[in-house]
Each structure stands twice: as structure tokens, then as C-alpha cells.
Symmetry: C2
Subunit: 420 residues, 2 copies
């Protein structure tokens, strides 16, 4: 065994000293065996009171980036543009980098991989997906592309918190969002969470480590819970379903991958056990059936925990190898498959029933119409009728119908329009 009894000693330059940064500082200070020390912290506001010696802080990024004794940069700031400049400069300076910034990573993953290769340094970001759940590492190391059937995850804590309050405590969506903000589970501008942007950023990262797919999040079909209506919740409850916002990727029979973020009715799934701000990911692989990873997906401490695990990995010279992308034949995204969905809309707005290949069921009341049927995925790609004008879409529990043989919607289907 080629034993490297010398662990790499980590001398850290830290950007950001919020809950995560301060938590990290404390743990590292109290756990000398981790062999990692924060040398300098770059902050934005010099005059804020901090629970650490003043000499530790600077407002000059270059003090960290040009310090030769610092071999690891941890980037924990909000601003994705500033984070981009810090991370790329650090990699170019041959420093290892740890980040939790999913927006930055999802939007620049191709360039960030190239920089790692060019400068021969690691860039780890387990905290960017499901915080404390080691999902990136497991996809990268444990699940072969060829054997990985699917990933389905609740990857955004805020929306899951809201959905839990709506389903378990009969709150309205608005009340639940307010409560999420009060408890610190949603941003003051919660639209990134609520509209599914945060979830699709994470899905983008997962696609790279699961299937070697590089996809810009804006090109992945996604929506959030912004258009879900009280009547959608009632509709779900009547059928014994809950609604979860699920980021998912499935390998199709043709070897391509279907991927999207959509609300979904769930029942008898491990995802039903994921409540409040928790995250959970179901991974399905050949032979192994389903595996479920569950843990806190948001918040300062779980994020700090993932950053710590990345630091630990750096001590042993771990790096992502992007195996599915660089060593294997990467998969491609597919646009050619069918989904079973329920479309919910207010009576006055017309959803063209011709979009459906098959309609199983429709219903309407004074508030909402619900149509459940089969749509070709391209119906969601080509325009966004399905998230305009308060239309909501909820995937059926079956989700993708792989190998579906199209039927034409019978002209005789009596289609109920506006009732309002």
C-alpha cells in the first residue's frame, strides 16, 4: 500500500465569515488533529464585530490570493460574480479551492473543470448540493454511469419547508413562505428557491457527476412551486398524495438521460419522509434497487460540515476526477420522451388539449381546472405556456413514461374549459 503517512497540512484563506465561516473557524481551532488552520479571512465589512482576533481579517482579497503560504482557499460568499473571480484566481494560483456556491459552479462548470486540469489543482464543492449529504462524492465514486438508472432528489430546503407546512399544517403557500423566511430557511428574496432556480443549479452539478453531462441550468426544464395553488394541494390530498419539488434525471431505454425539476405528486416514496428543510436523494442503480440518502440540506452547520469533509479529503489529496465526463463516454440529455402530468389552471385561461397525447382525467371547480394526461417533453421545451398565467404543472407519481407508444387524443374527448 502506497502510504502517504504525511497528510497535507492545510493553510487556509477563507472568504466570508458568516455562520458557515465562523462555524468552520471554531471547529478547526478546537480540533488540531484536523491539521488545518485558517490563516486569513477576507471580509466585506471591516467594522463588523467578529468573534475572532482582528489580525485574522482583511478586506483585501489579494492578501489571501497572493500569500504563498496559503494552499487552500475556501469561498463562502453570497455574490456569485465575486465568487467566480476569487475561485478562478485561486485555481490559477495553484491553490486548492472549496466552495459551496452552487450558482457559480452550475453556471461555469465546464470552465472550472478545465482550470482544474490546466493548473493541476483540486476544486471541491460537496456543500453545493444537499449540504451535508455526500451525494456528489457518491455519484462520482460509487455509481457507474452505465449502471445508474436514476437520481430523484429533494434538493431545496426552503421549498420543501413550505410544502411541508402546506401539507401538514394546512397553511396557505403565502403563510408558509412567510414562516420559512422568519425561520431563516428562505432568502429575503426567495424567488431563487421558489422558482426552482436553486434546485436546477444543483441538478446541473449532479448531472455532471452522475452522467458526465455538462448542461447550463437555464437549458434544463424547470419550475418551482411559485404557481402551485391551494386547490392543487386539495387535489393531491384527495388522492392521498403529497407534492414535492423533485430534481430528477433518468436514464432512458435509448441510453440518453431525461432531466428536469418539476413539482411531483409522491406517495409511498422515501421522498415522502423528507420534511421541512431536510433534503433527500433516491439513487436507483442496476441490481441495487433504490438507495436513499437523507440529511440536512441547508443551513450554516450542515454546509460547514460538508466543507469540513472537503477539507479532510484535501488532506489526503482527493480530487474529483470527473470520471463520467473524462474517462467514460458521457451521456446526453434527451428531449424525446413522455411525461404523465397534471396541469392546473384557472378557468379563464385556455390550456390547449391538443398538447396532450392522452388525457386520463379532468376536473374543474370554481377555482381551478385540473387535467391529467400524457405530454411529450418537447411541449415543455418549446415554450413556457406551462408556467405562464398561473398555470401549474405537477408530475404524476409515475413521472416519465419510457417507451410510451403515442396515441392521438381522441377528438371526442369532451374538454371542459373555463368554468369561472
Amino acid at each position: 500500500m502506497s502510504i502517504q503517512n504525511q497528510q497535507t497540512k492545510l493553510n487556509i484563506g477563507l472568504f466570508g465569515f458568516g455562520v458557515v465561516g465562523e462555524g468552520l473557524y471554531k471547529v478547526l481551532a478546537h480540533t488540531p488533529t484536523l491539521n488545518a488552520q485558517i490563516r486569513k479571512v477576507c471580509i466585506k465589512h471591516a467594522d463588523k464585530k467578529r468573534n475572532a482576533p482582528a489580525t485574522l481579517f482583511t478586506t483585501d482579497a489579494n492578501e489571501l490570493l497572493s500569500d504563498e503560504s496559503i494552499n487552500v482557499i475556501i469561498e463562502l460568499i453570497d455574490d456569485a460574480d465575486a465568487a467566480y473571480r476569487i475561485v478562478t484566481a485561486a485555481l490559477a494560483g495553484k491553490k486548492a479551492v472549496v466552495s459551496a456556491n452552487k450558482k457559480l459552479i452550475a453556471n461555469h462548470i465546464e470552465e472550472l473543470i478545465a482550470l482544474q486540469q490546466l493548473h493541476d489543482v483540486p476544486f471541491l464543492y460537496e456543500a453545493a448540493c444537499c449540504a451535508s449529504i455526500p451525494v456528489i462524492r457518491n455519484l462520482e465514486e460509487y455509481y457507474d454511469n452505465d449502471l445508474l438508472q436514476s437520481i430523484s432528489g429533494i434538493v431545496n430546503g426552503s421549498t420543501n419547508y413550505i410544502l411541508t407546512k402546506v401539507f401538514e399544517e394546512q397553511k396557505t403557500f403565502d403563510q408558509a413562505l412567510l414562516q420559512a423566511q422568519q425561520e431563516g430557511f428562505a432568502e429575503s428574496d426567495p424567488s431563487l428557491d421558489v422558482n426552482g432556480i436553486d434546485a436546477v443549479n444543483k441538478l446541473g452539478i449532479l448531472l455532471t457527476h452522475a452522467y458526465g453531462i455538462i448542461a447550463n441550468p437555464s437549458e434544463i426544464v424547470h419550475t418551482g412551486i411559485q404557481n402551485l395553488h391551494a386547490d392543487d394541494a386539495s387535489f393531491a390530498k384527495e388522492k392521498g398524495y403529497e407534492i414535492k419539488l423533485v430534481a430528477q434525471a433518468h436514464k432512458l431505454q435509448d441510453g440518453k438521460v431525461a432531466a428536469f425539476v418539476l413539482p411531483q405528486f409522491v406517495k409511498n416514496s422515501q421522498l415522502c419522509t423528507v420534511k421541512n428543510e431536510y433534503n433527500g436523494v433516491v439513487i436507483e442503480s442496476s441490481l441495487a434497487d433504490k438507495q436513499f440518502f437523507y440529511g440536512k440540506g441547508a443551513g450554516g452547520y450542515p454546509t460547514a460540515s460538508a466543507v469540513l469533509s472537503d477539507l479532510s479529503a484535501l488532506r489526503y489529496n482527493y480530487r474529483y476526477e470527473y470520471k463520467k465526463l473524462l474517462y467514460q463516454t458521457p451521456s446526453e440529455l434527451s428531449n424525446d420522451f413522455y411525461l404523465k402530468v397534471t396541469i392546473s389552471f384557472k378557468g379563464l385561461f385556455h390550456v390547449q388539449h391538443e398538447r396532450f397525447d392522452k388525457i386520463y382525467e379532468w376536473s374543474s371547480n370554481e377555482n381551478r381546472c385540473h387535467i391529467t394526461g400524457v405530454l411529450h417533453f418537447s411541449e415543455l421545451l418549446n415554450d413556457d405556456w406551462w408556467k405562464q398565467h398561473g398555470v401549474s404543472i405537477i408530475l404524476s407519481p409515475e413521472g416519465i413514461i419510457d417507451g410510451y407508444v403515442p396515441e392521438k387524443v381522441s377528438e371526442e374527448v369532451e374538454f371542459v374549459e373555463a368554468v369561472a
Copy 2:
């Protein structure tokens, strides 16, 4: 990035062609991208009909072990002694080895680590713990010793199947065991499962990868569900508990580790969601709170899936580094802590109440007496009164009471003896 675009091509010698072996053979034959080929299979019974070309088979172990073209040995046989000879010979011959044999590994882990070091070859055995759940790999790679608070797992599918049938379908323990055997979830001699031997073997392996502890399973306090009584199930149900057989290890305040396999009352725990033959492991780490890993823990396919993941890891030259043992200061097992337990026994047998440091509650009926109280762990170490004569022990949901300040059991406690 130091890219090894060349994956190691795996030429496999396979021992055993049962469900797992045959499953593996099929998957590898149909998935050439895995870059792994079974060259020869050593079987015990030459005349059995096999779904593979006859030229693939031999009954001579040396044909595999001395074949220079074979660089990986997969050992999937029942007999732990024969497995020991195969695995040690293969490692000595500088072949990488994959095994699912928890008994072999748990009982010889120190020697098997030394052989890996001496001959500079990897030995992987993810399938030996919780089959398809990548718990060994995550403990080894993701959770620092210093930050790992605890592991609690349902690691034996057969006993969990039995407990599920008792609690959900009101079966008796005997009926449930019979059903487990009929459905193939228990061995024809189920005592290894039922008595907790299988679970403690797995706990031994987990202790090495979690905390760097080498412990012979026979020295770890353990029991199974063999003495659980219908009245214990009723007792649990009255309190809203289920009973699970839990293998667990907890870091104590003094830095040592408490470890044991005991039945436990559970409520409001992720472990409650683990039903039938499934396994689940809760890992608690500083900052990250609890994480939960869940999947099929037994059966041919989940085992084959874990073996496949090990093969995939070998292609990229992965090996366990035994970081907690070799690079860090390993933890030690503790015998100095208190447990809150319920002891259940038949009236005629006397359980000495002096063993308890504190008694919270006792009850008795014509079948069973139940005492709930606090025991020092040494009471379970020094003799096995707690599993003799039909006595059963069930850990309370709190389990370990770390930092418990002993009281003497008041002499005035009125102790109810035999009621029978």
C-alpha cells in the same frame, strides 16, 4: 489534474457462481464499457447446470490463483475458512481482491490490512456491510474520526424482516422467522442472523473504517432477537415504540467509543422507516446533525451491485487507506458508560436488582417481568446473565446516558420477583 485516461482493465477470477456470481457475470458480459471480464470461475460442484459456457468453470482454485493474466479475485463463497485461504493467497499473489464475506473480514481484519500493506494490493468489501449501501466507503472517505459522533444501523436484513412482521402483521416471532426462511431472507440455520452474530461482524468492520478500531466481534457486546418475547412486543407497542436490532457506536465525552449490538426501542427515528429486509444507517457528525443511508441490505442483486461498485473503484485504482487507523490516532473502545435498558424475564428467574444503578419502572404479568433502569455497561461485559435463561434486553430510545452521574439504587425500592 493528473489524469490517468487509461482505466485498469480487470481480468477477473471468480469464486462462487450463486445468485451474486451469476448476476455479476451477466452484467459484466452485457456492459463492455465496465472494462471488466470474468476469465475463470471456480466452483465446488462441477456437475451442476450453469448458465454460462462450460469452459469458464473449474474446480481447481489454483487455476485462478496462479493465472498471471488474472489481476482481480472476487470471492463469493459461503465457507469463511475456504474464503480465508483464497483471499490471503490472492493478496499474497499481488492480486486485488473483492469479497462480501463479513465473517472472514471481521475476524481477520488486522491480518488482512497487513497483507494489503505488505503486498501493496487493494482489498475491497463494500458488499460485506449493508450490501448496496456504500457505508464503508463513506465512513472511510467522508467522515473524519474527530467529527464522527455516532453510527447506528439496522445492518441485518433477516432480523429486521422478522421484527417488521411481528410489529406490522402481528405475527409471532416463530411465524415470522419461518416466513423469513420461506422468502429466502434467512439462512436455513438462521442462528447467525437471529443471535446478532452477523450484525456484530458488520459492526466490527464499521468500527475500523469509522474510528480506526480493531475489535474482534466476539469481544463486542452483542445479542440478537432470539430471546425477545411476544410480551416485549406488547410492552413496546403500549409505549408507541417499535423494536429494532441496532448495531451502534458512539463517541463518548472522553473521546472513547461505546459500541454494541442490542435490540432497541425506537420512536421518531429514521430507523423506524427501515422495514423488512432493508438496512439503514444513521450517521451523526459534528455540525451535520444526522444523515441517513438506506437501501437493500441483503440478497443477491444488492450484493452484486456493491461488488460491481468495488470493481469500478478498482478500475480507478481505489483502495481503502484505513485512514482512521493508519494516519490518525485510532479511537479506543470504552467499557465505562451507562445504558438505559429494559430487562425482560420470566417470573421464575431472578434478575438481581442490584445490577441497576437506578430503576425507573417495573411491571409484571403472568408471562414476563419488565424492569427499566440504568445499568453500567460492565454489567453486560462480565457475564451473560442478560442473555441466559430467556432473559431479553432492550435498549431504551435514549440508549447511552453519557455523563450519567451514578446513584445507588435505593434499598427501599420494592422489587417484584417471580409472579409466575
